[in-house]
């Protein structure tokens, strides 16, 4: 028996080694092919359809709980919500009056400048799935995929501002990298003076940083950062965050600037996927979109028109080189 087992197990060890080498080579091959070439996209999509039931199963208890909580909200809460929403709607409509006037004005100016870059962005709304991806990367899974027309590199917003961009598209789902991921950078400009720079994620969903601003840069806490539209991924003029803190160390040549993201990166449930017309990413388009973010942070109705009016002249100064060059 002992002898039998010995021969048996040594035979098995060879088999084990063989299979181990085989599977490892297969896995290595997959890594290389997946990294270097694009052939695996289809296989991946098929596999992800197989994984979809697991993701839905994981999500369903949380969905159920949310549904239960929604269905048993008390009347008081609903009434309070209703009052709040109506107040917000009034405010929004008030701003919209300004917005339409501004948009009409912009269209006129555009016509004058013979620059008909379309700004009509198309949106679809997706829900974040209650599924945790890698713990060390700021990514979320959203229930819209290739079948909805989502594509890699697409800009994703939430109701507050820029949320991230699509990194991977499967048939029914897509993966979105948050702007707070340490490997993510987004071209931004300061809404007040048009200073352009790049905001980099920190891995902390409540903080971005601006690592490339010199200590002498004109940036103060409270400045609004909007997308600059450079780079061609994000549409111009959407809010990215507000400057939380500026630390200037005279010994360093670069300032240490912290940004608080405008999007609720750790709380949002619904995201908007945006289609940008190619023309709209021209820096000149910033002037069209700038009133939207400028009006957003205004806390009350009274100064809202003032802010929007103030932002309107400030916005064209945002991207001065192209606008100035075109006018003269």
């Amino acid at each position: 028996m002992v002898a039998f087992r010995n021969s048996d197990s040594s035979g098995r060890t060879t088999g084990l080694l063989l299979r181990c080498v085989l599977y490892s080579l297969l896995a290595l091959g997959l890594i290389i092919v997946d990294k270097r070439y694009d052939h695996l996209g289809k296989i991946r999509r098929l596999l992800s359809i197989a994984a979809y039931p697991v993701q839905v199963a994981v999500e369903s208890p949380f969905e159920g709980w949310n549904w239960f909580r929604r269905s048993v909200t008390s009347r008081d809460v609903l009434r309070a919500d209703n009052a709040k929403l109506q107040a917000e709607l009034r405010l929004a409509q008030f701003r919209l009056q300004r917005y339409e006037a501004l948009e009409a004005e912009t269209q006129r100016l555009r016509a004058l400048r013979d620059n008909t870059a379309g700004v009509s962005n198309r949106f679809i709304v997706g829900d974040i799935m209650d599924v945790d991806l890698d713990a060390f990367r700021a990514r979320v899974l959203v229930d819209k995929g290739a079948s909805d027309g989502v594509f890699v590199g697409q800009a994703v917003l939430d109701s507050g501002g820029v949320f991230g961009q699509v990194t991977r598209v499967e048939q029914l789902t897509s993966e979105v990298i948050l702007i707070s991921d340490p490997t993510h950078a987004i071209p931004v400009q300061i809404n007040r003076n048009g200073l352009r720079t790049v905001a980099v994620g920190t891995g902390d969903s409540s903080r971005l940083k601006l690592p490339y601003l010199p200590t002498s840069a004109d940036v103060i806490a409270g400045d609004l950062l909007v997308t600059s539209g450079l780079g061609g991924v994000f549409p111009a003029g959407y809010p990215v965050g507000t400057i939380a803190e500026v630390k200037r160390d005279p010994a360093q040549s670069l300032a240490d600037v912290d940004v608080r993201p405008a999007a609720a990166l750790d709380r949002s449930r619904e995201l908007m996927f945006v289609w940008v017309k190619p023309g709209a990413v021209l820096p000149a388009a910033a002037s069209t979109k700038a009133p939207t973010p400028a009006a957003t942070p205004a806390p009350t109705a009274a100064p809202a028109s003032g802010t929007a009016a103030a932002a309107a002249p400030s916005a064209p100064t945002g991207p001065p080189p192209p606008a100035g060059a075109n006018d003269e």
Partner: protein, 159 residues
């Protein structure tokens, strides 16, 4: 030993699917880094207890499933799991007679090796994760190994 041949693969597949679900179940972000690699532990258990039922095949396909569901480069978890499951299978006879503590320590070594391969592939494919908290998962995994092994053992014996 010969019992392995007649092993039904149902508990194996069932536990693997449950562990796969546990790998993506949402946790508060503070706890997320502490999440043990359940599927890896389950694969180790089956590699040690019944390698004939296809522990290595399970390891490879469980790894592919993890790659797909976590959205990393295809083959990363498959490579790490295959190598570590082969090591576990190789040491299984010794592991079975180990005390609980030394078993946990060995599992810790396997899990660290697993994380190291992931770390290496991450770096080689250009998404390095330098956070130190990645090395917490092996500690937690080794700590829950005795409970997991006894739970799976009960599932295993019940038939």
């Amino acid at each position: 030993m010969m019992r392995d041949d007649r092993i039904s693969r149902l508990p194996m597949l069932l536990s693997a699917v449950v562990a796969l679900a546990l790998a993506v179940i949402p946790l508060p972000s503070a706890l997320d880094a502490l999440r043990p690699d359940f599927l890896v532990l389950v694969v180790f258990y089956w590699s040690i207890e019944s390698p004939r039922a296809g522990g290595l095949t399970l390891a490879f396909f469980a790894g592919i499933a993890l790659d797909v569901i976590k959205g990393v480069v295809l083959g990363q978890h498959a490579l790490a799991l295959t190598l570590m499951a082969a090591w576990a299978t190789y040491l299984r006879l010794r592991l079975r007679v180990f005390s609980v503590l030394s078993q946990s320590l060995t599992i810790f070594a396997f899990l660290s090796g697993y994380q190291f391969i992931l770390f290496w592939v991450d770096g080689a494919t250009g998404n390095p994760v330098t956070s130190f908290s990645r090395w917490l998962a092996p500690v937690i995994g080794a700590a829950i190994w005795p409970f997991l092994a006894s739970t799976l053992g009960r599932l295993h014996e019940q038939r």
